[in-house]
Every structure is written in structure tokens, then in C-alpha cells.
Symmetry: C2
DNA sequence: CCGAATGTTTACAGATCTCTGAAAGTTCGA
DNA sequence: TCGAACTTTCAGAGATCTGTAAACATTCGG
């Protein structure tokens, strides 16, 4: 049983590492995966400090980054003065949805480049392909995420 | 005209910054966007050193990262001993395609977690949703990229 | 083969990022 | 309004990352 717990903790750390490698901050990723893999419904800041062996300041910083992205939420805990945190339902879909803003800036970067270079130029042609691609992705990704949401909610019933 | 060039260079730097913020290394991003926004078909390492004011070692390192991802390629330059680099066609589609390996590791992380936690547990239910989501995305993303490729190639004709 | 022209690797210095620890701030029950 | 229980902020130490310079490797014309 303790063995199971160790495996979970290890899995959490491994995923955190992957996320770190693709750009997320180390501590932020660790806090997120700790909440994801926890067998408790919610965890307090103190729980996170102990589990991850980090200071309360570090937890506070990570939480501050995570909440606005919609990955975790603060839940009121009746009878406790401590903040409780929970990994949100559909967090992954939210996360991927946020990527849309990135898609957006890519499209914009291409558009601005075309304005400066002209469509009929060496750079213009490259940027045109880029714009086409990101325009397409932007439209389709939003639809795709909705499709998953619907399918998942339907399966729940 | 020189003004146009300045705007292009600025656009390149701005995009590099965005990319850096979402996890790409600074110099790698700068080399990539320099090639993307360049009005030349290809650039040599020396061109990149001058344009970006960085050492040849830095260029070498960036190129080493970029080539395996499929974003740029080395092109043989008849009559020149120098290596020439070019931003690849469909590079963006390739880049997004590579994300599939990330989707894959997310799915795997979820699967391993479920194995350790059991499906019918607090963590198990969270991981089950995660696995469902990434399984879905993996299947659909590949299809989406193909769809864009087809559409774009058709438009070319 | 030699040696000039390039490309690659690497030790190290500087820049940057990230945590900690402690002080300051907030909240809430009494 | 006080003070205990927490959380947030922040300066600074330490760890990490990054780019340079120079040594080393490679390539190719002659």
C-alpha cells in the first residue's frame, strides 16, 4: 500500500519533469502534479510543503501561477482556516484552450511580417504559409476541444 | 526600404521573444526567426552571427537543436564551402506534429498513474479524465495536421 | 598531403532564475 | 481590537543556464 503511494509520488515527479522540459517552471509543475496524483480530494499549502519538501513561499508562488491558468482552484474549507487547493475538472482541456492565445500571436506575427515584407517576396511566401497554418489551427482547435467536452460529458451520464 | 528591413528584424525578434516565453531557448528561437523573416532564400552561419550579433559557437548550438526538429535544414551550396541554412517548408506543421510525442507522454503518465492508484480512487478518476483527453487529442491532432497539409497543397495548384 | 577556411566542442564567466527564510500582511474567532 | 493561524512578499544566497573565446576537428582546393 505504501508501495502504491511511492509509485504515485514517483509518477507525479516524472510528469513534472516532462512538463518542466517543455517550458513550465519546475515548482509550478511539481505542485500541479502533486495535486493531480494525490489520493486526497484537496491539499493544503502545508500538505504541499511537506510532500514536496519546499517552503511555503514557493508553494504560494506556484499557486499564484496555476490558478489564473485554470489548472487548479482554491476551495473553501469549512472549519479550517487554511486554504485548500484542488486540481480542476477539465483542467487539461482548459490548458489546451489557452494555447489558442499562442496560436493567435503566431498568426499575428505572420501578419505583421507580411505587412512589412509584402506577400510577393521570399519572406512573404514563408510567412504566408505560416499564417495559413495558424489560422487553420486556431479555428479547428477550439472546435476540437468542444467536441471532446461534449463526448466526455455524454459518457458520464 | 531600409525601414522595411528594420521592421522585419524587429518582427523576428518579437516572435523569438514569444517563443522563448513558451519554452524555446533564446538563441535557438532567434536563429529560427531570423531564417523565417529573412529576405534571402538561405543564410550562412556567418550571416546569422552578424545579423544576431552572436558567436559562431552559439549559432552552431542553435542549429544543432533546430535541425532534428525539422524546422530548418542545411542546404548544399554549390561553389561555397560554407553551410547554408533554410527555413523548411511546412515547418510549422512538422513542429505541431512533434507535439504528438508530448501528447503521448501525457497519456502514458496518466496510464501509469492509474495502474498505481486504481481506477476507482480519487486520483484514479482524475487520471482517467486526463487519459481520455490526451487519447482523444492524439488521434485528432494527427488527422487535423494532415487535413491542413492537403488543403494547403491543393490551394497551391 | 598541406594549410586555409569553416564548423564544433568546451571550460569558464556572467547573467538569470529560483528557492529559502524571515518579515510583513491578512483573516478571523473571541 | 487583539492575537493566533496562515499566506504573501521580498531580499539575497545558491543553483542553473547561456554565450563567448579559444582550442580542436573537419573539409577541400591545390
Amino acid at each position: 500500500m505504501d508501495d502504491r503511494d511511492a509509485q504515485l509520488r514517483e509518477g507525479a515527479e516524472r510528469l513534472a519533469l516532462t512538463l518542466t522540459e517543455s517550458g513550465m517552471q519546475r515548482t509550478t509543475a511539481r505542485v500541479m502534479t502533486a495535486l493531480l496524483f494525490s489520493q486526497q480530494e484537496t491539499m493544503t499549502a502545508a500538505d504541499l510543503c511537506e510532500e514536496l519538501k519546499i517552503s511555503s513561499g514557493a508553494v504560494s508562488g506556484a499557486v499564484k501561477q496555476l490558478i489564473p491558468t485554470g489548472m487548479i482552484e482554491r476551495v473553501p474549507a469549512p472549519g479550517s482556516r487554511r486554504d485548500h487547493y484542488r486540481f480542476r475538472d477539465h483542467a487539461w482541456a482548459t490548458l489546451m484552450g489557452n494555447q489558442n492565445t499562442l496560436l493567435d500571436s503566431m498568426w499575428n506575427a505572420a501578419a505583421e511580417g507580411i505587412k512589412a515584407a509584402g506577400k510577393e517576396s521570399v519572406a512573404g511566401r514563408r510567412l504566408d504559409e505560416m499564417q495559413d497554418f495558424y489560422g487553420f489551427m486556431q479555428r479547428e482547435m477550439a472546435a476540437l476541444i468542444d467536441k471532446w467536452r461534449e463526448g466526455y460529458d455524454a459518457g458520464m451520464r
